[in-house]
């Protein structure tokens, strides 16, 4: 993998770890903001706290990238690799249980 793409993957991994770390906190703040029975002040405070969480800890910033090439598009979730890598590996028979369809 090129250095640039590898760094992209490292960055993405960093985001994933952050997202995992702050998931509970984020959900909690979000729930407190959404609760109409709480006083307005408290809700505003938690809205502020929610906004102050690290931006990279958001799940929308996470991108499913190819583990081998770092390709951001055309990545199969099940195999975590891009369609190109998947095709070459599958045709080499390195993926268990994957066969080219033919009928």
């Amino acid at each position: 993998m090129e250095v640039r793409k590898e760094n992209r993957n490292i960055r993405d991994n960093h985001r994933r770890l952050l997202a995992e770390k702050f998931e509970l906190k984020r959900n909690l703040y979000k729930a407190l903001v959404r609760d109409p029975t709480l006083p307005q002040e408290m809700r505003e405070l938690h809205a502020y706290k929610l906004a102050k969480l690290p931006r990279n800890s958001s799940f929308t910033r996470v991108r499913n990238r190819c583990v081998f090439t770092g390709r951001p598009r055309g990545v199969y979730q099940l195999f975590r690799m891009s369609r190109l890598v998947f095709r070459s590996l599958a045709s080499q028979g390195l993926l268990e249980g994957i066969r080219k369809a033919s009928w």
Binding site: D12, R16, E23, N27, A31, L32, R34, D35, P36, F59
Partner: protein, 107 residues
Amino acid sequence: MSGGGGGRLKQLLAVAVTKGVEEARARIFGHVLNPTGLRSPHKILRKKLFGEKVAQWYPHDITKDDPLNIDRREEKRLSKLEILKRRGKGPPKKGQGKGAVKRNKGK
């Protein structure tokens, strides 16, 4: 008239019964009742946490775990630098680089 009253009573009873049933159902299955349809934080809180799964997307690289492998790579890099230096392709001294020479010419 009396039939109408009976109907009302029946209706009341039916409502009470269905309400009781709903409450009982909610208690048994751990649901949260929200009959008025108010905005509720429960929608977020009941979500499953999927962070762990997300964080495990990239597999752990074994080659970066082994100190021997890292040492070998470092050695390789140093030997390559040594070769370059011997050929006179190493890093220039301070003030001898391309940019530095240009800057001095300008002055």
